[in-house]
Amino acid sequence: MIVSSYGDCYARISGCNAHQRIVLSEALLATKQWEEVVPGISSVTVTYSEDLTPAVVERMLKSIIRVCDTTIPDRGKSISFPISYGGSDGPDLEQLAKRYCVSEADIIKQHQACIYTVEMMGFTPGFAYLSGFKNDWSIARHATPAKEIPAGSVGVVGAQCGIYGLKGPGGWPIIGRADAQFFDVTRDNPFLLSAGMRVRFQSV
């Protein structure tokens, strides 16, 4: 892992694996010393107030890295979502099947067979980055993002699966829509998912 600071109040630990990223972000959040602790797919970025200097921050992050492998994260609970594939709920499924010369049913079967881990929440409220989509297709992002994707849409890119908690623009090919409110500000806990949770999908 590499620690590098940039700008006047930003520092990033990059080159983390999933385990390191989860442990590091939890440890950094627990110290309450940082304005923001933002996990990425292979990094954790912090922002800090002007009381700290880049040199001090780099030392602090290096010392937290030294202790991070000694704790095992709680992987959290497992949760299963009903999903409707293809058609207007999964407008890109047909194209994907054509491009990779498989049937839509093949993609659906593979998508349902996998057990996913919530790697991180981010992008916009309720968006979940899931890992664990085992496949040989190397699906890429759209060249031009779709203008509006409905909330609950499930997209796939490479070995990742993404759930859109909000309607809005997005670049991931959408294969289906899960029947759940992933982000609802009126609930006590607005977020259905959090990092470390296990997720499965079942056809409705």
């Binding site: 006047d8 304005e35 991180m120």
Partner: protein, 312 residues
């Protein structure tokens, strides 16, 4: 009672504190796009810098007072009228019931702010009343104000009259100079692109919102073809997608992104981004992290007497 919106304008929202400490859950910062202008408005009605106020976008607005209260308007220069009488920005005024406050489009810049002495009722979500439009929460039911809306207010005693010290009023013209540091992925730009980005002015395109804005100008070249893992982005981040047309992110920016982070606006200049509007030019000025930190100290000191509670 309250304040009635007679002409809401393009996008008038209630904004309060930025949301700090929520980005790991995908919740953006929000709050005023130009926090300094909002703080100056609140100061003139005796409120803390980040108390809830109205943020106007490009077209002004017209309000009718349902109760007597003090108010102040800040931000770029615009024509301001109180029931037909011309009034000044950056000054406390007292409105009577049925008085009408009419604010024109700003002559330059993008956002004006109205603060009132009464307390504004607003939805408090994730510890802030700031409106975040994409997820429809905070402020006035999570949305921009519409004609006919009534903003609830609670009476609060206030009797002072003040004027913003003139040296704290930021002049805004057609070009804005904004200080930046190298971003995390600055080295992914080829050397010609590095010098273009820091030498040539860029023009704000029509693709512009509280989330961010596209910068038109000399296209940039990213040397590496490898795609990056999604990582943190912040207000003030300049991202460069493969097209070579950079984006400057603003207060409602997403929390993560996969494009190279080529520049990062220094903390003490973040509020300037809120005044950029389509057609305006931005000239980036490169600073070392040490210079950026020194500038923050200097600017904080300059503001500390008038706005002791303001933070960048």
């Amino acid at each position: 009672m309250g304040i009635i919106v007679e002409r809401a304008g393009l996008q008038t929202t209630l904004q309060g504190r930025p949301r700090i400490g929520w980005r790991h859950r995908g919740i953006p910062r929000s709050g005023p796009a130009d926090s300094l202008s909002m703080a100056l408005a609140n100061r003139l009605v005796g409120k803390p810098s980040y108390d809830t106020a109205l943020e106007l976008t490009l077209t002004g607005c017209r309000l009718r007072f349902g109760a007597a209260m003090a108010f102040a308007v800040t931000g770029p220069s615009a024509s301001i009228n109180l029931s037909g009488q011309h009034i000044d920005a950056h000054k406390t005024y007292y409105a009577e019931v049925e008085d009408i406050l009419d604010i024109s489009a700003p002559h330059y810049g993008c956002r004006n702010y109205i603060a009132v002495s009464d307390s504004i009722e607003a939805d408090d979500v994730f510890e802030s009343t700031s409106t975040y439009l994409p997820a429809a929460f905070g402020g006035y039911g999570g949305r921009a104000l519409k004609d006919g809306d009534a903003i609830g207010t609670r009476s609060r005693s206030f009797r002072d009259s003040m004027t913003t010290p003139s040296d704290l009023i930021m002049p805004i013209g057609g070009t804005m100079a904004i200080q930046v540091c190298e971003g995390h992925d600055y080295e992914m730009l080829d050397s010609a692109s590095q010098s273009k980005l820091l030498r040539e002015p860029y023009t704000i395109s029509n693709r512009s919102s509280r989330m961010g804005m596209e910068l038109l100008g000399q296209p940039l070249t990213i040397t590496s073809k490898t795609t990056l893992d999604s990582a943190a982005v912040f207000p003030g981040t300049v991202q460069c997608p493969p097209s070579g047309t950079p984006f400057l992110l603003s207060v409602d920016s997403q929390t993560t992104g996969g494009y190279p982070v080529v520049l990062q606006v220094i903390r003490s200049d973040l509020h300037l981004i809120g005044q950029l509007r389509p057609g305006m030019k931005v000239q980036f000025l490169r600073r070392s992290p040490e210079q950026a930190r020194a500038n923050l100290t200097i600017k904080q000191r300059a503001l500390s007497e008038w706005l002791p509670d303001y933070w960048f």
